[in-house]
């Protein structure tokens, strides 16, 4: 019996040093620590289609963006006469956006404008407040976006017109927005966009202050191709809707559907939207074109990024 115990003990003692000397050296570094790294590439670009994504530019990156929206594909202005809208362009936006830090992006753009005002200049800022982490300790990403837009169009001589500017501030409009996003797995990302648009000058019974909720998503088919969708519900008063209905103007919720193709430094979108405009200040409050009446259009977004930071 005693010998038995002795044998067990020696066996145990033999195992102990063997465990240290074994060849699996990886064991000495312990288990992989839980990864607190931020989730990357929730979206591939700073825009979903019209909507902002939570992404900002890396420090020193310059993003050259061109967005183009054609005319109505169907309805009265579409069809073969305009080659399904290709002959017309409702909005064109050219932008330079720059990553001041990895979290802060600033940009300027010029847009043709589609809505009450045209000839628009935009100054924008975007700040990454919160990043989703791989260990889910931070389950959401939050990015703040704001812009100020001024129109350089000539004032209308008609004092009743929306585009009559008795003072400079009448030319201004603003957007403030939060992008709350989450990447689910490696294929699907979703964003909610509580938004606020303020336009200094609006028509009778229109709203200077308009809140809206946007939702956007991206579903990756392959490493380079994804489906993108964005949709906004503006909270316009019933009284305002009713009044404009009597004038034959109906407001619709802007919906965009697109295919996103990414190749190296380029991100290319081919999309369809019912909204004619590219800027939040217009497509959220001033979309009066409807998918159901053929008033949707081809559009594309092109993003080309340059690394200037070194």
């Amino acid at each position: 019996m005693k010998h038995m115990q002795l044998r067990i003990l020696s066996a145990l003692l033999l195992i102990a040093p063997a465990a240290v000397a074994q060849d699996d050296l990886g064991a000495i570094f312990g288990k992989d620590s839980v990864r607190r790294d931020p989730v990357i590439a929730t979206f591939k670009s700073t825009r979903i289609i019209n909507a902002q994504s939570n992404e900002t530019l890396a420090r020193g990156d310059l993003d050259f963006r061109v967005a183009h929206r054609f005319g109505d594909m169907g309805g009265a202005d579409g069809g073969s006469a305009t080659f399904f809208g290709i002959d017309n362009s409702t909005d064109i936006r050219i932008a330079f956006e720059y990553g001041i830090t990895d979290r802060l992006t600033a940009g300027v753009s010029r847009a043709k404008g589609s809505g009450h005002f045209s000839q628009l200049y935009e100054v924008l800022g975007k700040f990454k407040l919160l990043q989703q982490t791989m260990d889910n300790r931070v389950p959401l990403a939050i990015t703040l976006f704001g812009n100020a837009v001024v129109t350089s169009m000539k004032s209308s001589p008609d004092k009743e017109a929306v585009s009559y500017f008795n003072k400079f501030s009448s030319r201004m409009s603003y957007t403030a927005q939060a992008v709350v996003a989450r990447k689910f797995g490696d294929r699907f990302s979703l964003a909610l966009l509580p938004s606020y648009v303020h336009r200094n000058r609006v028509g009778y019974m229109d709203m200077n202050n308009l809140f809206a909720l946007g939702v956007g998503g991206r579903l990756r088919f392959s490493k380079r191709v994804a489906l993108v969708v964005d949709y906004f519900v503006p909270f316009r008063d019933q009284a305002s809707k009713d009044y404009y209905k009597t004038l034959g103007i109906e407001y619709y919720n802007p919906l965009g559907i697109g295919v996103e193709i990414e190749t190296g430094g380029h991100v290319f979108h081919l999309n369809f939207t019912n909204s004619t405009a590219t800027l939040e200040n217009q497509f959220i409050p001033e979309t009066t074109t409807s998918w159901l009446q053929g008033q949707f259009r081809w559009g594309f977004n092109i993003s080309r990024r340059f690394s200037l930071g070194h």
């Binding site: 005693k2 002795l6 003692l13 240290v20 060849d23 699996d24 050296l25 380079r224 990024r305 070194h310």
Partner: protein, 197 residues
């Protein structure tokens, strides 16, 4: 050492107990010696360089973990893929998302052995050959590469340079950027080891 406390009270004979204690001490010492054969490094520097017609790409990390057992000559490396730093952050994103898929394959890992009979307890510079399995992007390949180990007063430094064919690890490069990314990348490794206590 749970075994000792469990069994010793059951032993009545004094001689046997003495025998057991000396046995225990002997093995404990052996254990300590075995541990001292292992040297580790938690800030190994790893880098790679890719030279293609349109672009040279370079990335570096100093968060590699490595260990050497100077008795068994076992060599170990592990590096978190997403710690590689690129000059162009967009490139870093593509590297993680599209090429190395660091979500799915967060580490590169190497388990190998030094083939030569070198005595790494002695000061000196030793050219060595290391053979083993390297796992990148979830694909394991066998490599046999040259390196240099320098021993100085109980500290070990190891360096190596070798090439990895990206296709060997099922890392796909789309034809569109084939002029930007080389098919073969040069990997360099540098690690300073301390004895594991």
């Amino acid at each position: 050492m749970k075994g000792t406390t469990l069994i010793i009270p059951a032993i009545s004979n004094y001689d046997q107990m003495k025998q057991l204690f000396s046995l225990a001490i002997t093995f404990l010492l052996l254990g300590r010696l075995a541990a001292q054969d292992v040297y580790s490094c938690r800030n190994a520097t790893l880098g790679f360089f890719s030279s293609a017609p349109l672009e040279d790409i370079e990335a570096k990390t100093s968060q590699g973990a490595s260990a050497i057992n100077i008795k068994t000559k076992a060599v170990y490396f592990k590096v978190p893929i997403n710690t590689f730093q690129f000059k162009k952050k967009l490139m870093q994103e593509h590297f993680n998302e599209n090429y190395l898929e660091s979500d799915k394959y967060p580490h590169a890992e190497f388990k190998g052995k030094i083939l030569e009979a070198v005595d790494l307890t002695q000061n000196g510079t030793y050219p060595v050959t290391v053979e083993g399995a390297l796992n990148i992007h979830g694909v394991t390949r066998n490599y046999r590469e040259k390196g240099t180990i320098t021993v100085q007063n109980g500290k070990i430094n190891a360096t190596a340079k070798f090439t990895v064919r990206v296709a060997d690890h099922k890392i796909k490069i789309p034809t569109l950027v084939v002029k930007n990314i080389a098919e073969v990348v040069e990997v360099s490794v540098n690690a300073d080891y301390q004895p594991v206590k």
